[in-house]
């Protein structure tokens, strides 16, 4: 295929105007010794139908894409209303770029403004940005922000935060001299409050905790925030499953100073891991250190309301090495999907969605817990994920489940060797009672060695 729009005559006329006789003469500033003498070693061009066939054959190498899955762990299966794909596939949303020229980007800018508002409403915070890349790097940006604000050398990071997020926080902080100290989780699956209290001191910029945490357990954010504030630290709350905010109290009402996380649950398909949607929100007083693009309201010369990217002096294109972050391109189209999702679900829908998630997951947990050889690993209340401990390795159980057409929970032995008999199961509104019962039946048989 070719997307060139010039005719042979066009090329001739254009070369003539420039005063050249061949395309080669346009590249004289490239030294001869590095000019390619042959075409790249890339297969011949495919036509549209050949391209589609080719990817269909690659798709066919993916097996079991229609298996019943109970995987979660930072990426969640949810319904996506038809309107999300339909509206977000408009060329007017897909093909523009960053809304630097506000007058011709009011669609994008107003939608970002609505997205920011929705995130603020869900998290109970004052301000939100236009998006970050995804949950893990967002958590790292939050840690960096807290450090810029408080300038203390260390942060306390709950061990119950998603392991991938912990890794990324470490990657980002190690070059900046920020010390990350872990706080273990207790037997009920939530962060050890006593250890947190002990470790909190006036050398700590922030406490970072996730709720629901990696094990699906709901943390006591109010107590955690209290501990952080006692010694003038910030409370950073990470959320990988924001559907929970439809029913759980907003972190902003529980003392959070910065809330960050992953909004893939809001209308972004699982996509084998990306692109997803990082979000961040904070209290007004921290605005100058807040990273990311922000859409703000203003008026035009006729007094008409409009929106512009604002407070750009925080950002790289103005502040360069003193910017709050280097982020430029973010996840705008994913934020648009999330906005359609949230506005389509609406106030009652988001609550109903959260309600169904917590009810179904707890039903599944209850029923699985009745099986011989299976027990609930952690005592803490869970939202839509839970950890089961088996009397044999989780991968053995999962292999048996696979034979029955079921992808079981995430084998936690992949993250923590001591948890190799444990798996993290996710149950959402997408799992009907029949599907949950299939899991329970399959698990029963698996435990009996069938």
């Amino acid at each position: 295929m070719s997307y060139i729009s010039l005719s042979d005559k066009d090329k001739k006329d254009m070369l003539k105007r420039i005063g050249l006789s061949s395309l080669k003469e346009l590249f004289l500033t490239i030294p001869e010794d590095i000019k390619l003498k042959e075409d790249l070693n890339i297969p011949d061009a495919k036509t549209e139908s050949e391209l589609i066939s080719y990817f269909e054959s690659l798709n066919a190498k993916n097996k079991g894409t229609d298996l019943l899955s109970f995987l979660g762990g930072g990426a969640y299966p949810h319904i996506i209303p038809t309107l999300v794909d339909y509206l977000s596939s408009r060329g007017e949303f897909i093909s523009p770029y960053t809304p630097y020229q506000a007058e011709v980007s009011q669609g994008t800018l107003q939608i970002i403004f609505e997205f920011q508002t929705l995130i603020c409403q869900l998290t109970g915070m004052d301000i939100a940005n236009a998006s970050l890349y995804e949950g893990a790097s967002g958590a790292a940006e939050a840690v960096l922000m807290a450090h810029r604000l408080k300038r203390k050398p260390k942060v306390l990071l709950a061990g119950s935060v998603h392991p991938q997020y912990i890794e990324v926080i470490n990657t980002y902080t190690k070059n900046l001299g920020i010390r990350v100290e872990g706080v273990r989780y207790s037997d009920d699956g939530s962060v050890d409050i006593d250890e947190l209290d002990e470790k909190m001191d006036d050398q700590t910029s922030a406490v970072i905790a996730q709720s629901p945490n990696f094990f699906g357990v709901i943390e006591d954010l109010e107590r955690i925030s209290g501990i952080a504030h006692k010694k003038d630290g910030l409370s950073v709350v990470v959320i990988s499953e924001p559907v929970s905010l439809g029913i759980l109290e907003a972190p902003g009402s529980l003392g959070a100073d910065i809330v960050t996380g992953e909004a893939q649950s809001f209308g972004i398909p699982l996509s084998y891991g990306g692109p997803y949607l990082g979000f961040m929100a904070c209290n007004e007083e921290f605005i100058r250190q807040f990273p990311g693009r922000i859409s703000g309201e203003t008026v035009d010369v006729e007094g008409q309301r409009g929106y512009v990217l604002t407070l750009s002096t925080r950002e790289q294109h103005i502040r360069r090495e003193r910017a709050t972050s280097n982020i430029c391109t973010n996840q705008a189209l994913c934020a648009l999907r999330a906005t359609v999702f949230l506005e389509t679900l609406g106030k009652e829908g988001i609550r109903e969605l959260a309600f169904q998630n917590i009810q179904k997951a707890n039903y599944a947990l209850e029923e699985c817990g009745k099986i011989d050889g299976v027990q609930k690993k952690f005592l803490g209340a869970v939202f839509n994920e839970f950890v089961l401990e088996f009397d044999k390795p989780a991968d053995v159980v999962n292999r048996s489940l696979l034979e029955k057409g079921i992808i079981g929970g995430l084998d936690l032995g992949l993250f923590f060797p001591k948890f190799k008999n444990c798996a993290l199961f996710c149950v959402t509104e997408t799992h009907t009672k029949d599907k949950i019962d299939l899991l329970v039946k399959g698990m029963e048989e698996a435990m009996q060695g069938r």
């Binding site: 066009d10 254009m14 319904i79 408009r90 922000i294 609406g346």
Partner: protein, 489 residues
């Protein structure tokens, strides 16, 4: 045009768009004992389905976009976004699959990532590549982290990164995020890196030079091999910002220039949609010396099976969750395969032809600070128009009335009042001529009727917006008690 309110302003109790099926299991009232819950999400909208459809459809019509008009944003490479690639990315095995599904079940997806890696290495002349970074800026940060890990491993950590004064803002910002301090290198009269200044400034404490090639003026750094030599001779590494790769595909390769590490922007050179500001992807290509430090996981072939390798003791670690912006990678691979080798070469040939055609056509009307030959983009300035009190922003806003998206204005810093124009290879001569014609008319308007430019745009969804007010009195979200700003006047 209908002025579309905020969704919150048309929201009302009792309106509902989406309905979930009834809960099919018995309700357990005890689950949330002792847990802090909320009764509702205050202020959340309640609208009907048709209201959602009209809301977003109307708002979409307030956007300029490539599908409608010429979008010559310099350094952004606003080329046509192929629709077939969108269709391919929606295949269920690509879009509906959970990232924790065992690798044996997603061999197709792992093969896509591996193939994309191989072809991008071929295109760039680098030895290996990571497709994990979510955008160019994150690619720059990863590149800097790789350099830092390598030098620390050598026992030779250094503190400084050199960056030309013409660089994009993400360059110094990324270096800083990696813990480096930034020193500026001057550009010479041709707009390229001043070799003498570089030789003078290069020292044993410089970890790297970040260079953009072609640079932000669209000029190829002809001395790039000498530049790399100077940096290498003192033990430093060369990072190339590959945002302008559109000028080079199929013509030459950064790997052959002496570059040690570079990033690409899949949403620029490789046609994946810009989406109003992402998602993109910023793959980082490297020479062998940096391979041990690549972020985890790496995709390896073991026997006949592709696996995820996390056992990389010298890796800089994870830089994001999961494996990268996978669907963006799918689209970029589709693009590469649809063009083939000859198509990729044609991209740079025509990108450079189109840009030089514009440059030649406008050089009498607008000031070109640097006379050096340019490739895929050129940077004019508002110098001639300043005589009439007109700035680049007025020219930009007036272009809107002609149905064209304005060029880039915020950099390079070395050109005051810059207008950075990059047409890309997908524009037709007709659209290029329309743009040239509009620019010539605006140049005349600047002389004859400057007020017309100062008051522009006249025909857009909103007139010129007050950015100063937005920063001075920030309103960053809707609140129920917020009155329409217009009432304040």
């Amino acid at each position: 045009m209908i002025r579309e309110p905020l969704i919150f302003e048309i929201s009302d109790k009792g309106k509902k768009a989406y309905r979930l099926p009834e809960l099919d299991i018995p309700v357990n009232g005890d689950i949330l004992e002792g847990i802090r819950t909320r009764t509702e999400v205050e202020g959340f909208p309640q609208v009907a389905e048709i209201e959602v459809v009209r809301h977003f459809t109307r708002l979409s019509r307030a956007n300029f976009c490539i599908d409608v008009c010429f979008y010559p944003l310099g350094s952004c490479t606003m080329k046509y976004n192929p629709k077939v690639n969108e269709k391919i990315a929606s295949f269920s095995g690509f879009s509906q699959v959970h990232p924790f599904v065992p690798p044996e079940f997603v061999q197709g997806n792992l093969e896509i990532i591996k193939k994309a890696e191989d072809y991008l290495c071929e295109i760039t002349g680098m030895d290996a590549i990571t497709l994990q970074p979510s955008a160019g800026a994150q690619g720059e940060l990863v590149g800097m982290m790789l350099i830092r890990a390598c030098l620390e491993d050598r026992g030779d950590p250094r503190k400084i990164v050199l960056i030309p004064d013409s660089a994009h803002g993400t360059n110094p910002s990324s270096a800083h995020l990696c813990g480096y301090s930034v020193q500026e290198i001057k550009s010479n009269a041709e707009g390229t890196v001043d070799i003498e200044d570089l030789a003078r400034t290069m020292s044993d404490d410089v970890a790297a030079l970040m260079v953009t090639n072609p640079n932000t003026l669209g000029v190829f750094e002809t001395d790039i091999q000498k530049i790399c030599e100077i940096v290498h001779s003192k033990g430093g590494l060369v990072y190339m910002d590959g945002a302008n790769m559109n000028a080079l595909v199929g013509e030459c390769r950064p790997g052959d220039m002496g570059v040690d590490v570079m990033h690409l922007n899949l949403h620029k050179t490789f046609s994946t949609p810009h989406g109003g500001g992402g998602p993109g992807a910023g793959p980082v290509g490297i020479k062998k010396i940096l391979e041990p430090y690549l972020p985890v996981p790496i995709i390896e072939r073991e026997a006949d099976v592709l696996v995820l390798d996390f056992d990389r003791p010298k890796s800089i670690g994870r830089v994001r969750s999961f494996y990268g912006n996978f669907l963006v990678i799918v689209k970029a691979l589709a693009y590469i395969l649809s063009l083939g080798a000859s198509g990729l070469r044609e991209v740079s040939e025509i990108a450079v032809l189109n840009s030089n055609y514009i440059r030649k056509s406008l050089e009498a009307d607008y000031y070109l600070k640097y006379k050096t030959p340019t490739l895929h983009e050129c940077v004019f300035s508002d110098k001639y128009q300043k005589e009439y009190g007109i700035q680049n922003i007025d020219i930009a806003k007036r272009l809107i009335d002609y149905g064209v998206h304005p060029p880039t204005m915020s950099f390079p810093l070395i050109v005051a009042g810059a207008l950075m124009i990059e047409p890309t290879e997908t524009e037709s001569k007709r659209d290029l001529d329309l743009f040239i014609d509009a620019m010539k008319k605006i140049a005349r308007e600047a002389r004859e009727d400057p007020e017309l430019l100062k008051q522009a745009p006249h025909s857009s969804y909103v007139r010129r917006l007050n950015e100063t007010q937005a920063a001075r009195d920030p309103i960053l979200r809707w609140r129920p008690e917020e009155k329409d700003l217009t009432e304040k006047k």
